[in-house]
Amino acid sequence: MIHIDRSMVGLAAATLILAAAGGFVPDWLAFILTLALAKALVVQGVVLQMRAGLVSFGQGLFFCVGGYAVGMGGHFFGINDAPVLLLAGALAAVALAAVLGLLMTRYRDIFFAMLSLALSMILFGVLVKSSELGSTDGFNVHPATFFGLSFKTEAYKTALYLLTVLLAGGGALVLHLVHHSGLGRMWEAIRENEIRVEYLGLSPRWLLYANYLLAAAFAALGGGLTALATGHIDPEMSFWTTSGEFVFIALLGGTSHVAAPMVAAVLFAFVRTYAIEFTPHTWQMILGFVLLGIIVFLPKGLWSLVRSEKRAKA
């Protein structure tokens, strides 16, 4: 029933190549890629919402929940296995989203944007005041095991890199199916005309609820991986500027293909690494101008360049 298309083959191949590269890429590069792909997972969720016409300025909420779940699992519950911690984070985020979604699915447009922002700031406020969790400083994350196996420094980084590549690639494959499924296309339909969706006999709120939960799960996975990679978590993960960065990367890549968030996140990570080194006080300014440029010249994101080139060739 599921048709395997070119995108899926390409994604699988890219995932395998990236995974194989894990054996010989230098440490610093593996680290940047791990962080970028973890971020890409979060951005996948943001894109999922954008396809439904919603922009969240508070996806940091679930990113943070995923991160703290990993940190707290190790600190307070003695759970140290990465896959278990990540799963716990995703479940925690989905549970939270299941409650918040009841409220959030009533909102659209700027109200959704603002309310998501406010909710993430509530978590920020709570964490800043929680001295048990290190307040503004956060705390360090215990090194994790992978399916019961523990690794030393070098191998640990490689293992984490592999896990991230597999999750990002696998996640993208799943989302590729979702985007083209009946449910996925229905989200686009909501973005286009919610009244018609209602008049086709469907509940827009139920559809958006599903969307919200899925996006939360992806954000938590990204947050968990980020926590493992940096070995540290703090409330900043839930601060709204963190969420703003996710929105930026989502717009940079565009929403038309699941590979776009990954390409955009990697690009973002590299440009940032160099920009911060050379011009520390103009990084945000660059982002701002790029964002305006995208909105004016490439409203469908960088991926539209790939698309139109393909069409021109064909």
């Binding site: 700027i110 406020g125 005041k129 909105i295």
Partner: protein, 299 residues
Amino acid sequence: MTTFYAIFIDGMIYASWLFLVAAGLTVIYGVMRILNMAHGSFYAIGAYCAASMVGWYFSDFDGNPYLSYLLLIGCALVAGLVVGVVIEQGLLRFMYKRNELLMIIITYALLLILEDTTKLAFGVDPYFTYQPYALLGRSDIGGLAFANYDLLLVAVSAIIGLGCWLVLNRTHVGKVLRAVIHDREIAVAMGVNVRLMFAGTFIVGTTLGALAGALTAPSISVSPGIGVEVIVLAFAVVVVGGLGSIEGAIVGALLVGMTRSLAVHLAPQIELFVIYGVMSLVLAVRPQGLFGRTLARKI
């Protein structure tokens, strides 16, 4: 009893500050339907201009200290005007046709640009300009000492609120603005120069933002990041009150200010939480905010 006084007066002071910060945001949204993420940056710019100018006035210039208040307000007006004109004419007027959601993202880009511009212009070290704050001394109310500067802010805030209300409800310009707010298409059909109204509104909005920053500068350390902190608070206030409504912003500021003051005095660990808690609660009960209107789409 003392606690009650303290809670009430602190609440009033905080509410006035919140209203100052939120007024420009709600005015711009009300007329232009732009939820301006860069509003906090105007606040920051106003604060930096005022802090640096007043700092220079006191250190290098031996004038009458009371003139520093004029300088404070003058800085805000000039900064707000310049920034407002540049941004409206240079960027926003080309973007008006875009939808509200995209406008948020555009103003977010603006925020990113302005944040770094401020850092480049004023550096990253904090500015302290306590003189105008200290100059007015303190008053004793019910056995508690309050800074007169803070109490003065309550009055200033009330004047600005009243001024906005009067302009909107008692002047010809206000009548035209209300027509634009009520139905933009009809206003255009009636021959209203919407572009002019937009430009004017935006400049007034940025100036209000800069003024809020300038008036706050003497009581804080002006450093990078103040704009970002402020914008989220301002959002909370206008969303509680109902986006675009001046009355809403007043009531929202009072509600948020009083609640926070209660929390600060009785349960300080939930201080930050409580602001957004109020906001979520109001929205859960009244999605459009206390004074917001809902419009069902006509089909």
